[in-house]
């Protein structure tokens, strides 16, 4: 599955984000290279999650566009948008599993609904995806019956159901203990390495940022724009004081 797709699967150009009224961030431009893990970080209120919602096609931005392999998402027709959404998998902050369905059904529904798979085939693939995230044997459990960490992994199984080219994570370690969160980071890296998926990660967890990030952008709530871009190590040793402080640089 590696070696597919364009050089820049996702690119954001001059994106102004917000929910109407005053923009939260202005003129954001950055791209993600194929197979890379990009970390979006910033202080609270800087609009990280809002940016994510614009990128995964949930809320329209105030200006600019998100380009999937060079194709503008928000300028596209509705049917085209659906096709573009199919290339994307999302793990929401609280996993957002459909609580009225078993774990298996949670993975089967997108397989049947968006990819039109037959029931038997969808079930087999769902079992595989659940096994990949270490949940073999939990197919018939309901989300309420398993722990927070398992729920995140089930959410990940659902996100990778359709073999997406791009995976988004909204604060994957939120609400997890350090050990579980480290395991989840390992799983994300493992999936990237084996599936060749491009990963975009919203987080402010330092450990995850350094463990996973190939590159990173930093959103500043005060200046309302992106103030740094580069690998996490570069940013830590860079000359933007706020980013250095955020990443714990200059304390050594």
């Amino acid at each position: 599955m590696s070696g597919r797709g364009p050089e820049l699967p996702v690119e954001v150009r001059r994106l102004t984000i917000g929910h109407g009224g005053e923009p939260v961030q202005r003129e954001l431009s950055f791209g993600v290279r194929r197979g890379e893990i990009l970390v979006i970080m910033g202080d609270s209120g800087s609009g990280k999650s809002t940016l994510l919602r614009h990128m995964i096609g949930l809320d329209p931005p105030l200006g600019g566009d998100v380009y999937y392999a060079g194709e503008g998402f928000w300028a596209a027709e509705e049917t085209r948008k659906e096709a573009l959404r199919r290339r994307v998998g999302v793990l929401f902050q609280n996993a957002a599993l459909w609580s009225s369905m078993t774990l298996e059904e949670n993975v089967v529904v997108p397989l049947q609904a968006s990819a039109g798979l037959a029931a038997g085939e969808a079930r087999e693939i769902a079992r595989l995806k659940l096994a990949l995230v270490g949940l073999a044997g939990f197919e018939q459990h309901y989300p309420a019956e398993i722990s927070g960490g398992m729920r995140k992994r089930a959410g990940l199984a659902r996100a990778i159901a359709l073999d997406p080219e791009i995976l988004y994570f909204d604060e994957p370690s939120a609400g997890l203990d350090p050990l579980t969160s480290r395991r989840l980071d390992g799983l994300i890296r493992e999936l990237r390495d084996s599936l060749g998926t491009t990963v975009i990660l919203v987080t402010h967890e330092l450990e995850s940022i350094f463990a996973l990030g190939d590159s990173a952008v930093f959103l500043d709530a005060e200046r309302r724009t992106m103030i740094a871009q580069g690998s996490p190590q570069e940013l830590r040793d860079g000359d933007e004081p706020k980013v250095r402080a955020f990443l714990g640089g200059g304390r050594r």
Binding site: R53, I56, G57, L58, E82, R85, R86, V88, G89, V90, F92, Q93, N94, A96, L97, W98, S99, S100, M101, V109, P110, A113, S114, R158, A221, E222
Partner: protein
């Protein structure tokens, strides 16, 4: 010393020093519940000496807690506003630190501008909100109509389990309360009718009254109202929780339309189940009426049934049953609308349920009134 002021147990003394500074001497016991001294003397002193520094001093300060800090913070804020320097160095270290913490200007928090409280502004806000809601609700109905088109074409994507569950929630599960309410309504109608008709020896017409009122109006209406409180609220709460938990967003990223996947099964279930429920409600209402007729008016059961049969032309029954799907649609759409438009906070879910009930009941009654007027005009 040009001015002294004391409050309570003389805890505050304000004076003007030789160097021009305003001195505030704090002493005694400062504890929560003892009340806060007034800041007036300090304000007056500061006004009398523009730009003079404000110096705090502690003298025989026994015990202190937040009361002291609150007083110092209030007076120091006054001094700041007047452009005076503030010196708290003589205060206990803990108090000094708390005051400087409270006085630190937050770097970038911009408090929300206060809302214009004028009557015209309030009326304007309500009007704008109403217009926005109306447009939004219309868009929602349009979206649902598109989902229904998919349903007619046989391409609607939703889970049959959801349809069955919604059918159960808006049908079987409501049997008990629908039976109780309608039985009692039928009994009350018969009782009220009996009181009026008995003096004329026309007790037997209670059966007519109950039969027509229950089947044509009250059976459907009461059932619609019960469903708005039961099913409408539950739809709003379930969909609101799903919105809060980003489950609705997850549907959208999986290319499933919430209108199709969540609203269609609920709408379909309620529209199909409500006529059945109303037929059951009619029966219960008639039985309630009969109980009163037989036990209080001493009418024979057979006599009552025959009179009911005579009075009850199928027309009334059909009119009542025809309203049921409309009530069902109103209840399901209101519940789903408020659920899907829920903000992503826990409090918003409760609000969504409340609104679904209130608006659902109002709309059910309005639809009923509209139907009555239309039927009157067309002479049915």
């Amino acid at each position: 010393m040009i001015d002294t002021a004391a409050t309570g147990e003389s805890r505050v003394a304000v004076s003007r020093g030789e160097d021009g500074a305003v001195r505030v001497r704090l002493s005694g016991r400062w504890q929560l519940g003892d009340g806060l001294p007034s800041t007036e003397p300090v304000r007056d002193a500061l006004q009398g000496a523009p730009a003079a520094p404000l110096v705090f001093a502690a003298e025989r300060l026994l015990e202190w807690d937040s009361t002291l800090v609150a007083f110092v913070h209030a007076t120091a804020s006054l001094a700041r506003a007047a452009g005076s320097a503030v010196d708290t160095s003589a205060l206990p270290q803990g108090a000094r630190r708390l005051v400087s913490l409270a006085l630190a200007v937050p770097p970038r928090l911009r408090p929300k501008a206060p809302e214009d409280d004028a009557l015209s502004a309030r009326v304007g806000r309500i009007a704008l909100r109403a217009a926005g809601t109306a447009a939004d609700a219309l868009a929602f109905v349009g979206m649902t109509a598109l989902s229904l088109r998919e349903l007619v074409r046989g391409r609607a994507r939703f889970r049959r389990v959801d349809l069955l569950r919604a059918g159960e929630a808006s049908g079987v599960a409501a049997l008990g309360i629908v039976a109780l309410i309608n039985f009692l309504i039928g009994a009350v109608l018969a009782f009220v009718g009996a009181v009026q008709l008995q003096p004329f020896g026309a007790s037997i017409y209670v059966a007519d009254l109950v039969a027509i009122a229950v089947t044509r109006e009250l059976g459907p209406l009461m059932t619609g109202i019960v469903m708005a409180g039961r099913t409408g609220a539950s739809f709003a709460a379930v969909l609101g929780t799903m919105t809060l938990n980003e489950e609705v967003d997850a549907l959208r990223t999986a290319s499933l339309r919430p209108g199709e996947f969540l609203v269609t099964p609920r709408l379909l279930a309620t529209v199909v189940m409500l006529p059945a429920l109303v037929a059951y409600a009619d029966l219960m209402g008639l039985m309630g009426g009969m109980l009163v007729g037989v036990s209080m008016l001493h009418l024979g059961p057979l006599e009552y049934v025959r009179q009911t049969q005579n009075a009850l032309s199928l027309r009334h029954l059909w009119i009542g049953l025809a309203k049921a799907p409309a009530f069902g649609a109103v209840v399901a759409l209101t519940g789903c609308y408020y659920g899907l438009r829920c903000q992503r906070t826990a409090a918003a879910v409760g609000e969504a349920a409340t609104r679904a009930v209130v608006v659902g009941i109002v709309l059910v009654v309005m639809v009923d009134a509209l139907a009555t007027v239309l039927l009157h005009v067309t002479g049915l």
